[in-house]
Amino acid sequence: MGIISSLGAGVQANLNRLLEGETGVGPIRNLETRLRDELMAGEISYTDNELAEISKIQDLRGISRGALLGVIAAKEAMKNADFSDPAVRTGIISGTTAEAMTNIERYLQDFLNNDRKNEYIESQDWGFSTEIIARETGINGYMTTINTACSSAANAIMTGTRMIEHGLLDRVLAGGTDALSKVMLNGFNALMIVDTEISKPFDRNRRGLNIGEGAAYLVIESERVAQKENILCEISGYGNSNEAYHLTALSPDGEGTAQAMNNALEKSRLQVGDIDYINAHGTGSENSDLSEALGLANVFGENPPPFSSTKPFTGHTLGSAGALEAVFSILALQNNLIFPNLNFKDCMDGVAVSPATEMIRNKQISHVLSNSFGFGGNNTSLIFSKVRL
């Protein structure tokens, strides 16, 4: 696995910051926006030029910030995978929703009014970053991109897993990338679901989310080709559902979130009592947190396993959030850790569940459920399980 987020570049850097309980959300420095005076974000400190250097990409024509982030995370994910055997069919499935925005918002006026920035025209497209990542990592098999808003990367991991189960691929690089954009900051701000402080998921006084950016990828392999010493975990369950309720809101009864979790549990053949930790979607927004908490209560009863949202650490990285949180879920398995839900004080009205507020160490963690919910009522749950070899 590989990751870059506002917590840092690389799995170890991210783990260190999580262990220190130190957030990556702070003032906006790179993105040019009037909102930098009002809002914070989980912005990655590197400038585009610095990212370009880290990525080691030679051909930077038409490049986008999200593609740079994606290449960096993908290369880390692939450093242990053996790509020398051409008989191993390798694909890439990436989730992204905001990535294309960064170049559109920078260059739209140029595209419309003059010919100076034409090299960026083809980057205003959701498949662009995926094709750059494929080029830079040498993946030449199946390639696709999923855009279901904030569940995009979780859906990419689910689809990749299914393609392996169907024998269509032996190995897939799956995850997502999204870069901070003016469009997303203003969009969520216009919907009045952005907190001016660091978000407080599941808290009674939550005021919204912080936008973040980042990329993360997993190398998912079939049992046949996986090298034992490289196995980090098993993807044991996945499930998707749709609210069929509203283009941006979740149903207030938690029915849709519960269905995604139930679908994942059903696929994994695990019981609710087997889940040791839930990495919640927990954006900090009024509607989404309530719906998720009701869904948790619906599936797990009044005493769900410890759960927390890591979004106060990273901000909500939108299309890539499911991939970042997949990495955090795997870190929880590997290190027997439960990450704290920062800034939680009081329970929400109407639902009695409350998240873990302190780091929990040395608890045996065998199965982690990770939730991702997106605009359009698109809900996805994934289950990661420890493999005993």
């Binding site: 925005m101 010919d115 205003q124 498949g127 094709e131 169907h166 941006t248």
Partner: protein, 354 residues
């Protein structure tokens, strides 16, 4: 086998009435072909009609026409491919962010700017609360949705999948990509597309939907046999190799292909591979093309699949799409081959349902 038990197409041609199969062909003298749209009052409540953007309406109308054809109210699951999705709403929102200097911006274009809102609206209209997926990868968008749909039906959890390919073209995107040399200048006649011999193609759009099921019924058009995608082949010979390999996997040879539908789009930079295939391996097979009817767009293969499914059911090839005059002796297997700027290549094979 996975069966196509319902189809619908909204396209720049008169394709809304299912009784008429390309009996009338629309000629354009513009390089941007837009759909002949239905009266959306038949599909949406006046409030929704006012609120929703054009591509969400195109998507829902296509989906509804397909469900009507299949006589189904609620699908079990939904898979949509859309290359550009709701780009227009993104652009409207972005211009308003700039115009308003990032203050007091109306959020409604933002709400409708997500790619997934096309499939989400179908879920809202039908009440389908289960699997809902949106693929957005250039000219792999529809193929990815189709591959997912085939997996879903094999997994057995759902009895049917509503599958669609939806994209729109509008002025800004047209002008932008015209600058990048994707479209022809000056204007051409769409019906003379293969003879234009110049760089660029013509832009198009469409909304085509299919109801896929594990079982055939009395509305079955055809069966989807297999789909394959590949990227960046170095030359025409490696494309031929991919086709041989693909057919071999289905225990077929080139001679078993009763009709090859090619995605040629009149762009001299990228069409040579089609000429190679027409002149070599498919020389003896009946050949067809379709982008002169619908234009080039990321999910044009959804229109091609609609064509293939209807050809299979009617056992007739409309004159307007014939590339050679070789008549088929039978119509058992139809292969669609498309490529987009030599990056995204795809093969889709359908077969008779009998």
């Amino acid at each position: 086998m996975i069966y196509i038990n319902g189809t619908a197409s909204i396209s720049p041609q008169p394709t809304l009435k299912k009784e008429e199969f390309l009996t009338e062909i629309r000629e354009y003298r513009a390089n941007m072909l837009q759909c002949i749209e239905p009266d959306y009052h038949e599909f949406l409540h006046p409030n929704a009609l006012r609120r929703l953007n054009r591509i969400i309406k195109l998507g829902w109308a296509g989906a509804k026409l397909c469900l009507d054809d299949a006589q189904l109210k609620v699908p079990d699951s939904i898979c949509v491919g859309t290359g550009k999705g709701c780009f227009k709403s993104t652009e409207i929102f972005l211009l308003s962010v700039d115009d308003n200097k990032e203050q007091f911006i109306p959020p409604s274009p933002f709400i409708q700017s997500a790619h997934g809102s096309i499939a989400a609206q179908i879920a809202i209209q039908t009440g389908c609360k289960d699997y809902n997926m949106t693929y957005a990868h250039r000219s792999f968008s529809f193929e990815s949705a189709l591959i997912d749909a085939l997996m879903l039906l094999k997994e057995g959890k759902y009895t049917n999948v509503l599958l669609g390919g939806v994209d729109e073209i509008e002025e800004t995107q047209f002008k932008t990509f015209e600058r990048a040399g994707h479209y022809k200048e000056p204007e051409v006649n769409n019906l003379q597309l293969p003879e234009t011999k110049s760089a660029g193609t013509i832009a198009g759009e469409g909304s085509a939907f299919f109801l896929l099921e594990n079982q055939p019924n009395n509305n079955t058009y055809a069966a989807v046999k297999s789909v394959h995608t590949f990227s960046n082949p170095p030359d025409a010979s490696s494309v031929r190799q991919q086709i041989f390999y693909f057919l071999e996997q289905g225990n077929l040879a080139v001679k078993d292909i009763d009709l090859i539908i090619l995605g040629l789009n009149g762009d001299v930079q990228f069409d040579p591979v089609y000429a190679d295939l027409s002149g070599t391996i498919f020389k003896e097979q009946p050949q067809a093309y379709y982008k002169h009817l619908c234009g080039e767009y990321h999910t044009s293969t959804a229109f091609a699949l609609w064509l293939a499914a209807n050809i299979m059911r009617r056992k007739e090839i409309p004159d307007a799409i014939r590339l050679n005059d070789r008549p088929p002796d039978k119509l058992r297997n139809i292969l669609i081959y498309n490529q987009y700027r030599n990056v995204n290549h795809s093969l889709t094979l359908i077969t008779g349902a009998g």
